[in-house]
């Protein structure tokens, strides 16, 4: 099932400059694995070698951080938007 993934500036060069790409998956983990398979340059920036989420990456489904949902097992459906954002300071 195709899901839209919104990319931060830092990853867009790996996707031909696109801000939004469409990849398949029914969970966040599947979506991210499809993403790094299609765009290998993103690989180790998004997922660690053991398949877990990189420490400095926040992933959201419809603006909710998946770490506080069901992490990589969080389900996604057609029409959902997955966003990837680098962890940034504030204050």
């Amino acid at each position: 099932m195709p899901v839209a993934v919104r990319l931060p500036t830092v990853l867009r060069s790996q996707a031909g400059g696109r801000a939004i790409v469409s990849v398949d998956g029914s969970t966040v983990g599947e979506v991210l694995r499809s993403l790094v398979t299609e765009h290998p340059g993103m690989g180790e920036q998004v997922l660690n070698e053991d398949g877990t989420l990189h420490r400095f990456v926040n992933v959201y489904v419809n603006d909710d951080d998946v770490r506080y949902l069901s992490a990589l097992e969080t389900p996604v459906k057609e029409g959902d938007e997955v966003s990837i954002l680098p962890a940034v300071a504030g204050g």
Binding site: P86, V88, A89, G91
Partner: protein
Amino acid sequence: MRSVLDLIGETPMVEVSQLSPNPNVRLVLKLEGRNPGGSVKDRVALALVEQAEADGILEPGRPDQVLLEPTSGNTGIGLALVARMKGYHLKVVLPTNVSVERRQLLEVWGAEIIESPAEEGSNGAVRMALRLAEEHLDWHMLYQYGNTANPAIHYRTTGPEIWRDCPEVTHLVAGLGTSGTLLGVGRYLKEQKPAIEVWAVEPPAGERVDGLRSLDDGFVPPIFEELGGAQLLDRKTVVRPRESIEVTRRLLTEAGVFVGISTGATVAGAIRCAKQIRPGTTGVVVAISADDGWKYLSTGAWTDDLDVVTKRAENTIYF
């Protein structure tokens, strides 16, 4: 009060349920803009300096002592106020893309500004300050991101104030910057009533930080990891500039409350929180307003075309 510093804290709360999407849920705002330096960060600034004094690192009234801090503005303004009153010299590392008023206020209170590149955002300011601290061992870096005095002051003051003034609270919503407010207030409230949910709101700040070479340049505040932030929070939600400004405007027009753009984001998060409270259940969502609207007049947030203001906000640090 003997000193302006004694005016820090004890901020008022006001109901803004006009914006609640759920008739069974009240929305209440804690107005941290009422602090003398104009933001929630006055509490943190005073606490960081007093902790350094208690540790014997700083000696009040010796202007040759230099304080250093990376900040997107509000912590710097709070520190400038405290440094002015206590006689320290303050250097702040400030990204160039903050609102003009934040910069003006730092100058008014006598802080020395060291600019960091806009394209590196707040992460760039943190990196530059850490490097400067290594190069100048006589400068004292207070480091709000890594100093437990930051969440501790919210645990000691902001949290108890909310519990005293609004014991019916069921949810806490606050912006996530250093994580100090959420860690301190969230922990205090959960200790009083474990069922209270703690929601964090953040802007999509990293989306457009062009100066990041890779995601490895990301930053998680050390206090968030040290104090178990991920275990404390129940939800974290991102609110984008357009919605932040829309809610900032609604707060003014529907509730008569003039607050900063980050409060618009926080209340947008509070509205989402209120929406998911089940029918038949009542709730009281307390949101923390980090500052008032004054510092954002130049952004046109209340006056200009929404599309234009949104574009502007996408390139400005307002958290």
